[in-house]
């Protein structure tokens, strides 16, 4: 039995331990859970050190790029959480992190969730590409009405009554229909992941094990 095949056995058993969760909580699941959490936490600590700290801090500092001392100091402020008397210092690091995230994402969200969506939604209500195109016309009208009604649903400053209420209800119908389509699509993708795992158990574990036992 090769080292690789021992690895396959460990992976297969851990897969079954995790699947045992479908029955109920049990010691096998607990074992796999704790092992997974412990190993992944340790792995990510090493990963962040080698892939974040070293290339983004230590290497620039070695190259005398002393502006990198600013993030170093901000990072060190967070460690002040360990000293209750000076834990207030950590707020500078946190404040920078949160504000930086909000500031960068303001532009990212405005571009991706507003400008590009508007660009894609402003469509001719009668499509005349290569003559009158009924299918494209219906598609364009549905997109314009659907997006407009969806926007009205996310309007918070007025009570959803009367025309506003009806439009908002139409908006939520559009949202739910799109969620339904997305649900079906994603479930299919998840089933393919399950099939992949089953194929691993059958082709990489059960079949070679039977072959090993039978000596063929």
């Amino acid at each position: 039995m090769s080292i690789d095949f021992i690895g396959v056995w460990i992976a297969a058993l851990l897969t079954l331990f995790i699947f045992s969760f479908l029955y109920k909580d049990n010691p096998f699941y607990k074992f796999a859970e704790y092992l997974y959490v412990g190993i992944s936490a340790g792995y990510f600590a090493a990963y962040y050190y080698h892939n974040v700290m070293v290339p983004n801090l230590f290497v620039p500092l070695q190259n005398h790029q002393f502006d990198y001392l600013i993030p170093l100091v901000l990072g060190i402020t967070i460690l002040f959480r360990l000293f209750p008397k000076y834990s207030w210092v950590s707020r500078y690091g946190f404040a920078y992190s949160v504000a930086m995230g909000a500031g960068i994402n303001f532009i990212v969200y405005l571009q991706a969730n507003a400008m590009q969506q508007i660009n894609a939604t402003i469509l001719p209500l009668i499509s005349l590409e290569g003559g009158f195109n009924l299918g494209q016309t219906i598609s364009n009208i549905i997109i314009v009405i659907g997006v407009s009604a969806g926007l009205v649903y996310f309007y918070f400053s007025k009570p959803h009554k009367g025309f506003l209420g009806s439009t908002a209800r139409l908006g939520i119908w559009f949202l739910m229909i799109s969620f339904g389509a997305s649900f079906g699509y994603t479930v299919m993708a998840r089933i393919s992941i399950l099939i992949g795992r089953m194929q691993f158990l059958i082709n990489d574990w059960i079949k070679p094990t039977i072959a090993l036992i039978s000596g063929s």
């Binding site: 909580d25 859970e33 990510f44 400008m115 660009n119 997006v147 918070f156 400053s157």
Partner: protein
């Protein structure tokens, strides 16, 4: 006669290299190829620097299907005459290259020459000096600037109005109406409240929204004398969540009831985190589960496990691909922007309320652009390109 013909042929043969095949030779003795022409090196426009764009016209011998040219070599130096080093070898037919391995505010010289089979090459042609620099304003993104300023002005205006004491209306959000009910249920059953602030870090806007709502939920939990568990996927989120919950307990006048260990870090790994949270659900049997933040493939696993232990579940995310799962498996779901509106709704703070109403005004303008723009597009007026972003 034959003698004159032979002399004529001899003279013709002797002149042939000059008349029919003026083939130049390389210093190594091989034939030289025709070089490319019109070589231009310029600072890449509208970028943040550290980039020089090179362009040239193809060598006259670079013809598809007939060429002996295999490609082009580009060399770079910081001095005009010497020190050239190869930076790229490009296939035949290429007419441009962007050099991004350079520093700003430094002179660079380039040369390009064509290469063929057997090591033959053309004479190089030169360009430079050229300096890379940062352009602080990108005119192609003027629409983004206008939109940002307009939205910011709306937000600031309504914050100003809210601070002056004007009562700003926000419509009820179904999921938030249920927060009190969920915490009350947990209190009655003597079971904890489980709060998941998503799986992303503090630079994610949804995590920030999730943590803001956590503060309000934790305060309610403290007032009801219930218990809250906050397992975190990121260490920074854990630290900020601890700070937030601690402050909420202080505000509620219950600092003694705050338990640091209830807000804990598990692992950065997505499915390792899910396995651990599922374990917590099965063992602690929380009466109310909150999933508010950024979620990916773990959303349904979490929500289904929460459902199986009989918890009342309130979810909220702006991830379109995960919303269907929360809608299907949770009792209440904050859809998209409702997550961001929730913190304003719960807190009633002028800053947040003004911000929310300001964004609403932005939506009204967007709606107007979509409707009017679509009508104009129908009549052949191009409006959509106004919103094209690069």
């Amino acid at each position: 006669m034959n003698r004159y013909r032979a002399l004529f042929l001899l003279a013709l043969l002797a002149s042939t290299p000059y008349v029919f095949a003026q083939v130049e030779t390389s210093p190594e003795g091989g034939e030289l190829l025709a070089p490319p022409s019109n070589f231009i090196a310029e600072d890449t426009p509208l970028d943040n620097g550290n980039s020089i764009s090179l362009s040239w016209n193809l060598s006259p011998e670079d013809i598809i299907g007939k060429t002996d040219i295999e490609g082009y070599i580009i060399e770079r130096s910081t001095e005009k005459e010497t020190g050239y080093q190869k930076i790229a070898e490009l296939p035949a037919g290429t007419t441009s290259y962007t050099d991004t391995e350079i520093e700003n505010k430094k002179n660079y010289y380039y040369k390009v020459y064509s290469i063929g089979k057997g090591g033959i090459h053309s004479e190089p042609i030169y360009a430079g000096p050229v300096i890379a620099s940062t352009q602080w304003f990108n005119p192609e993104r003027t629409n983004m600037l206008v939109a940002s300023i307009l939205l910011s002005l709306f937000v600031l205006y309504f914050i100003f109005r809210a601070r002056k004491g004007e009562k700003l209306y926000i419509r009820p959000i179904a999921g938030l109406e249920a927060v009190q009910e969920a915490i009350g249920r947990a209190t009655e059953m003597g079971k904890p409240v489980l709060y998941i602030p998503g799986i992303m870090d503090m630079d994610d806007i949804q995590t920030i929204a999730g943590i803001t709502i956590l503060g309000k939920v934790a305060r309610m939990v403290a007032e009801y004398d219930a218990e809250i568990l906050v397992p975190c996927c990121r260490s920074l989120v854990m630290t900020i969540a601890r700070e937030t919950v601690k402050e909420a307990y202080l505000d509620a006048g219950r600092p003694d009831a705050f338990k640091t260990d209830n807000i804990r870090y598990l692992t950065d790994d997505q499915f390792g985190y899910v396995a651990a949270v599922d374990g917590i659900m099965l063992r602690e049997k929380p009466a109310a589960n909150f999933y508010l933040g950024t979620f990916y493939a773990e959303s349904l696993i979490l929500a289904e496990t929460g459902h199986s232990v009989g918890a009342i579940q309130i979810a909220g995310t702006a991830m379109p691909s995960q919303l269907p799962f929360f809608v299907a498996a949770c009792d209440y779901t904050l859809i998209g922007e409702e997550l961001f509106a929730a913190s304003a709704y719960l807190s009633g703070e002028p800053l947040m309320l003004g911000s929310l109403i300001g964004q609403d005004m932005g939506k009204v303008i967007i709606l107007a652009f979509i409707i009017v723009g679509s009508v104009l597009e129908t009549f052949g007026v191009d409006v959509s390109s106004l919103f094209l972003t690069k």
